[in-house]
Amino acid sequence: MTDLTLDGNALAGLLAETLGADLTAAPRRCASCGRVSEVGAHRLYRGAGLVLRCPACGDEAARIAVLPDRLVLRLSGTWRVEVTRR
Protein backbone atom coordinates (compact mmCIF):
# COMPACT_ATOMS: atom_id res chain seq x y z
CA MET A 1 0.00 0.00 0.00
CA THR A 2 3.09 2.17 -0.25
CA ASP A 3 1.65 4.50 -2.86
CA LEU A 4 -1.36 5.17 -0.66
CA THR A 5 0.79 6.28 2.25
CA LEU A 6 1.53 9.92 2.86
CA ASP A 7 2.11 11.81 6.06
CA GLY A 8 0.35 14.26 8.31
CA ASN A 9 1.63 17.22 6.28
CA ALA A 10 -1.00 16.38 3.68
CA LEU A 11 -3.72 16.98 6.29
CA ALA A 12 -2.76 20.58 7.02
CA GLY A 13 -5.62 22.07 5.03
CA LEU A 14 -8.29 19.67 6.26
CA LEU A 15 -7.29 20.10 9.90
CA ALA A 16 -7.32 23.86 9.48
CA GLU A 17 -10.77 23.63 7.93
CA THR A 18 -12.21 21.49 10.73
CA LEU A 19 -10.34 22.85 13.75
CA GLY A 20 -9.42 26.32 12.62
CA ALA A 21 -5.69 25.97 13.21
CA ASP A 22 -2.67 24.57 11.47
CA LEU A 23 -1.81 21.50 13.51
CA THR A 24 0.99 19.89 11.52
CA ALA A 25 3.66 21.08 13.97
CA ALA A 26 1.56 20.18 17.03
CA PRO A 27 2.95 17.36 19.17
CA ARG A 28 0.63 14.41 19.74
CA ARG A 29 1.13 11.72 22.36
CA CYS A 30 0.08 8.28 21.22
CA ALA A 31 -2.47 6.66 23.55
CA SER A 32 -1.01 3.24 22.77
CA CYS A 33 2.80 3.50 22.84
CA GLY A 34 3.28 6.89 24.47
CA ARG A 35 5.55 8.28 21.76
CA VAL A 36 5.20 12.01 21.15
CA SER A 37 5.39 12.94 17.46
CA GLU A 38 4.41 16.03 15.53
CA VAL A 39 1.25 15.59 13.51
CA GLY A 40 3.27 16.17 10.32
CA ALA A 41 5.46 13.17 11.15
CA HIS A 42 2.49 10.80 11.44
CA ARG A 43 1.63 8.39 8.62
CA LEU A 44 -1.44 9.01 6.56
CA TYR A 45 -3.31 6.19 4.88
CA ARG A 46 -5.85 6.98 2.23
CA GLY A 47 -8.68 4.64 1.47
CA ALA A 48 -12.40 5.27 1.72
CA GLY A 49 -11.45 7.86 4.34
CA LEU A 50 -8.22 9.26 5.67
CA VAL A 51 -6.56 7.57 8.63
CA LEU A 52 -3.65 9.16 10.47
CA ARG A 53 -1.44 6.75 12.40
CA CYS A 54 1.34 6.98 14.98
CA PRO A 55 4.71 6.69 13.17
CA ALA A 56 6.07 4.46 15.94
CA CYS A 57 3.35 1.87 16.54
CA GLY A 58 0.70 2.48 13.88
CA ASP A 59 -2.10 3.12 16.36
CA GLU A 60 -4.87 5.33 15.05
CA ALA A 61 -4.44 9.05 15.70
CA ALA A 62 -7.27 10.46 13.63
CA ARG A 63 -9.88 9.38 11.17
CA ILE A 64 -11.31 11.82 8.69
CA ALA A 65 -14.26 11.39 6.39
CA VAL A 66 -14.62 13.93 3.61
CA LEU A 67 -18.28 13.98 2.63
CA PRO A 68 -19.96 16.15 0.01
CA ASP A 69 -21.51 18.48 2.57
CA ARG A 70 -19.27 18.11 5.63
CA LEU A 71 -16.04 16.88 7.17
CA VAL A 72 -16.08 14.41 10.05
CA LEU A 73 -12.99 14.16 12.24
CA ARG A 74 -12.34 11.68 15.04
CA LEU A 75 -9.23 12.19 17.16
CA SER A 76 -7.43 9.67 19.41
CA GLY A 77 -4.59 10.09 21.90
CA THR A 78 -3.47 13.37 23.40
CA TRP A 79 -3.21 16.31 21.07
CA ARG A 80 -1.44 19.38 22.37
CA VAL A 81 -2.45 22.30 20.23
CA GLU A 82 -0.59 25.57 20.29
CA VAL A 83 -1.32 28.33 17.81
CA THR A 84 0.21 31.73 17.32
CA ARG A 85 -2.23 34.50 18.16
CA ARG A 86 -2.56 37.15 15.50
Partner: protein
Protein backbone atom coordinates in the same frame (compact mmCIF):
# COMPACT_ATOMS: atom_id res chain seq x y z
CA UNK B 1 -2.94 33.04 -12.66
CA UNK B 2 -0.23 35.28 -13.99
CA UNK B 3 2.13 33.06 -15.90
CA UNK B 4 2.90 29.47 -16.77
CA UNK B 5 6.49 28.26 -17.16
CA UNK B 6 7.43 24.91 -18.70
CA UNK B 7 9.96 23.11 -16.49
CA UNK B 8 10.23 19.58 -17.89
CA UNK B 9 8.09 17.51 -20.22
CA UNK B 10 5.86 16.57 -17.29
CA UNK B 11 6.02 19.62 -15.07
CA UNK B 12 5.03 23.24 -15.25
CA UNK B 13 5.36 26.11 -12.86
CA UNK B 14 2.18 28.05 -12.27
CA UNK B 15 2.68 31.59 -11.06
CA UNK B 16 -0.20 33.00 -9.04
CA UNK B 17 -1.11 36.38 -7.72
CA UNK B 18 -3.20 35.76 -4.62
CA UNK B 19 -5.32 38.56 -3.23
CA UNK B 20 -4.94 38.87 0.53
CA UNK B 21 -2.10 36.34 0.70
CA UNK B 22 -0.89 36.46 4.32
CA UNK B 23 2.66 35.36 3.47
CA UNK B 24 4.16 31.92 3.84
CA UNK B 25 7.14 30.10 5.28
CA UNK B 26 9.44 28.14 2.98
CA UNK B 27 8.27 24.53 2.89
CA UNK B 28 4.55 25.25 3.27
CA UNK B 29 1.95 24.31 0.72
CA UNK B 30 -1.41 25.55 -0.41
CA UNK B 31 -4.62 23.79 -1.22
CA UNK B 32 -6.05 24.33 -4.66
CA UNK B 33 -9.69 23.62 -5.34
CA UNK B 34 -11.19 23.10 -8.75
CA UNK B 35 -14.94 23.10 -9.29
CA UNK B 36 -16.43 21.58 -12.42
CA UNK B 37 -19.54 23.03 -14.08
CA UNK B 38 -21.69 20.32 -12.49
CA UNK B 39 -20.44 21.32 -9.04
CA UNK B 40 -18.02 18.43 -8.59
CA UNK B 41 -15.04 19.58 -6.59
CA UNK B 42 -11.50 18.26 -6.42
CA UNK B 43 -8.94 19.59 -3.98
CA UNK B 44 -5.19 19.02 -4.00
CA UNK B 45 -2.30 20.27 -1.92
CA UNK B 46 0.75 21.66 -3.71
CA UNK B 47 4.07 22.72 -2.26
CA UNK B 48 4.98 26.34 -2.79
CA UNK B 49 8.19 26.72 -4.80
CA UNK B 50 8.64 30.47 -4.41
CA UNK B 51 10.36 32.22 -1.54
CA UNK B 52 8.36 34.17 1.04
CA UNK B 53 10.21 37.22 -0.25
CA UNK B 54 8.83 36.81 -3.79
CA UNK B 55 5.86 38.91 -4.84
CA UNK B 56 4.05 36.04 -6.49
CA UNK B 57 3.31 32.44 -5.51
CA UNK B 58 4.85 29.75 -7.69
CA UNK B 59 3.70 26.13 -7.71
CA UNK B 60 5.46 23.48 -9.74
CA UNK B 61 3.07 20.74 -10.72
CA UNK B 62 3.99 17.40 -12.23
CA UNK B 63 1.42 15.68 -14.40
CA UNK B 64 0.00 12.42 -13.06
CA UNK B 65 -1.53 10.98 -16.20
CA UNK B 66 -4.66 9.47 -14.68
CA UNK B 67 -5.06 12.26 -12.13
CA UNK B 68 -8.08 14.52 -11.87
CA UNK B 69 -6.35 17.81 -11.24
CA UNK B 70 -2.73 17.76 -12.38
CA UNK B 71 -3.39 17.21 -16.12
CA UNK B 72 -5.63 20.28 -16.03
CA UNK B 73 -2.96 22.34 -14.26
CA UNK B 74 -0.13 21.12 -16.48
CA UNK B 75 -1.92 21.20 -19.83
CA UNK B 76 -4.95 23.48 -19.67
CA UNK B 77 -4.56 26.39 -17.30
CA UNK B 78 -3.75 29.72 -18.97
CA UNK B 79 -2.58 33.08 -17.74
CA UNK B 80 -5.59 35.07 -16.54
CA UNK B 81 -7.54 32.04 -15.27
CA UNK B 82 -8.92 32.28 -11.75
CA UNK B 83 -8.16 29.48 -9.29
CA UNK B 84 -9.49 28.94 -5.78
CA UNK B 85 -6.68 28.55 -3.28
CA UNK B 86 -6.44 28.23 0.46
CA UNK B 87 -3.35 28.60 2.49
CA UNK B 88 -0.61 28.69 3.25
CA UNK B 89 -0.87 25.45 5.23
CA UNK B 90 1.66 23.28 7.04
CA UNK B 91 3.93 24.20 9.91
CA UNK B 92 6.07 21.09 10.29
CA UNK B 93 8.12 20.85 7.11
CA UNK B 94 9.35 24.46 7.17
CA UNK B 95 12.62 26.34 7.43
CA UNK B 96 13.48 29.96 8.09
CA UNK B 97 16.95 31.48 7.87
CA UNK B 98 16.81 32.16 11.60
CA UNK B 99 16.35 28.42 12.28
CA UNK B 100 20.00 28.06 11.22
CA UNK B 101 21.91 25.12 9.82
CA UNK B 102 23.81 23.36 8.56
CA UNK B 103 21.17 22.08 6.19
CA UNK B 104 20.90 18.76 4.41
CA UNK B 105 18.14 18.63 1.80
CA UNK B 106 17.25 15.38 0.05
CA UNK B 107 14.85 15.50 -2.88
CA UNK B 108 13.31 12.62 -4.77
CA UNK B 109 11.83 13.76 -8.10
CA UNK B 110 9.41 16.64 -7.69
CA UNK B 111 10.11 16.54 -3.94
CA UNK B 112 12.60 19.27 -4.72
CA UNK B 113 9.76 21.82 -4.89
CA UNK B 114 9.42 22.77 -1.19
CA UNK B 115 13.20 22.54 -0.82
CA UNK B 116 13.49 25.05 -3.66
CA UNK B 117 11.40 27.48 -1.62
CA UNK B 118 13.93 27.06 1.22
CA UNK B 119 16.86 27.65 -1.14
CA UNK B 120 15.23 30.71 -2.71
CA UNK B 121 14.47 32.06 0.77
CA UNK B 122 18.08 31.41 1.78
CA UNK B 123 19.32 33.27 -1.30
CA UNK B 124 16.86 36.17 -0.85
CA UNK B 125 18.23 36.69 2.66
CA UNK B 126 21.84 36.41 1.48
CA UNK B 127 22.33 33.51 3.85
CA UNK B 128 25.53 31.53 3.41
CA UNK B 129 24.56 28.76 5.84
CA UNK B 130 26.25 25.47 4.90
CA UNK B 131 23.68 23.70 2.74
CA UNK B 132 23.91 20.41 0.86
CA UNK B 133 21.26 19.44 -1.64
CA UNK B 134 20.96 15.98 -3.15
CA UNK B 135 18.46 15.64 -5.97
CA UNK B 136 17.52 12.17 -7.20
CA UNK B 137 15.75 11.80 -10.53
CA UNK B 138 15.31 9.08 -13.12
CA UNK B 139 16.99 10.92 -15.96
CA UNK B 140 18.42 14.35 -16.77
CA UNK B 141 15.20 15.56 -18.39
CA UNK B 142 13.37 15.01 -15.09
CA UNK B 143 15.61 17.40 -13.14
CA UNK B 144 13.69 20.51 -12.08
CA UNK B 145 15.19 24.00 -11.78
CA UNK B 146 18.54 22.89 -13.15
CA UNK B 147 19.79 26.27 -14.35
CA UNK B 148 18.67 28.13 -11.26
CA UNK B 149 20.13 25.52 -8.92
CA UNK B 150 23.44 25.72 -10.76
CA UNK B 151 23.61 29.48 -10.34
CA UNK B 152 22.49 29.31 -6.67
CA UNK B 153 25.22 26.74 -6.01
CA UNK B 154 27.89 28.99 -7.47
CA UNK B 155 29.67 29.60 -4.18
CA UNK B 156 27.76 31.00 -1.16
CA UNK B 157 27.81 27.77 0.80
CA UNK B 158 25.43 25.66 -1.27
CA UNK B 159 26.67 22.36 -2.66
CA UNK B 160 24.49 20.71 -5.30
CA UNK B 161 24.62 16.96 -5.89
CA UNK B 162 22.55 15.06 -8.42
CA UNK B 163 21.96 11.39 -8.98
CA UNK B 164 20.29 9.91 -12.04
CA UNK B 165 18.98 6.48 -11.22
CA UNK B 166 17.81 5.19 -14.57
CA UNK B 167 19.51 6.94 -17.44
CA UNK B 168 22.56 9.18 -17.61
CA UNK B 169 23.61 11.42 -20.47
CA UNK B 170 27.02 10.97 -22.07
CA UNK B 171 29.70 12.61 -19.95
CA UNK B 172 27.53 12.64 -16.78
CA UNK B 173 29.70 13.42 -13.76
CA UNK B 174 27.08 13.14 -11.01
CA UNK B 175 25.98 10.02 -9.16
CA UNK B 176 24.37 7.26 -11.22
CA UNK B 177 22.61 5.04 -8.70
CA UNK B 178 19.91 5.01 -6.06
CA UNK B 179 20.70 6.98 -2.94
CA UNK B 180 22.82 4.96 -0.51
CA UNK B 181 24.88 5.47 2.65
CA UNK B 182 28.10 6.05 0.76
CA UNK B 183 26.44 8.77 -1.29
CA UNK B 184 25.08 10.49 1.81
CA UNK B 185 28.52 10.37 3.43
CA UNK B 186 29.96 12.08 0.38
CA UNK B 187 27.22 14.71 0.33
CA UNK B 188 27.51 15.40 4.08
CA UNK B 189 27.40 17.15 6.45
CA UNK B 190 28.20 14.34 8.88
CA UNK B 191 25.89 13.57 11.79
CA UNK B 192 28.42 15.16 14.14
CA UNK B 193 27.70 18.55 12.54
CA UNK B 194 24.05 18.04 13.59
CA UNK B 195 22.47 19.28 10.37
CA UNK B 196 18.77 19.98 10.05
CA UNK B 197 17.56 17.47 7.52
CA UNK B 198 14.60 17.82 5.19
CA UNK B 199 13.64 14.85 3.04
CA UNK B 200 10.91 15.17 0.45
CA UNK B 201 9.85 12.78 -2.26
CA UNK B 202 7.77 9.70 -2.91
CA UNK B 203 7.18 7.56 0.19
CA UNK B 204 9.78 4.93 -0.76
CA UNK B 205 12.46 7.61 -1.24
CA UNK B 206 11.63 9.29 2.07
CA UNK B 207 11.65 6.02 4.03
CA UNK B 208 14.95 5.01 2.48
CA UNK B 209 16.50 8.42 3.18
CA UNK B 210 15.34 8.45 6.79
CA UNK B 211 16.61 4.89 7.39
CA UNK B 212 20.01 5.64 5.85
CA UNK B 213 20.38 8.86 7.84
CA UNK B 214 19.52 7.19 11.14
CA UNK B 215 22.02 4.47 10.22
CA UNK B 216 24.66 7.19 9.76
CA UNK B 217 23.96 8.50 13.26
CA UNK B 218 21.62 11.39 12.54
CA UNK B 219 19.07 12.02 15.30
CA UNK B 220 15.57 11.00 14.18
CA UNK B 221 14.23 14.26 15.65
CA UNK B 222 16.50 16.28 13.34
CA UNK B 223 15.01 14.63 10.26
CA UNK B 224 11.83 16.15 8.88
CA UNK B 225 10.10 14.33 6.10
CA UNK B 226 7.36 15.10 3.66
CA UNK B 227 5.96 12.35 1.51
CA UNK B 228 5.05 13.77 -1.81
CA UNK B 229 1.91 12.65 -3.63
CA UNK B 230 0.38 11.15 -5.60
CA UNK B 231 -2.48 12.64 -3.68
CA UNK B 232 -4.87 11.26 -6.25
CA UNK B 233 -3.47 13.45 -9.00
Amino acid sequence: MREVVAETGRARTIVLEVRGWPGHVAGQHLDLRLTAEDGYQAQRSYSIASAPEDEVIALTVERIDDGEVSPFLVDEVRAGDELEVRGPVGGYFTWRVRDGGPLLLLAGGSGVVPLMAMLRHRAARNSTVDTRLLVSARSAVDLLYRGELRSLADGRGLALHETLTREQPVGWTGFARRMDAEMLMEVGPPALARPRVFVCGPTAFVERGADLLVGLGHAPAAIRAERFGPTGG
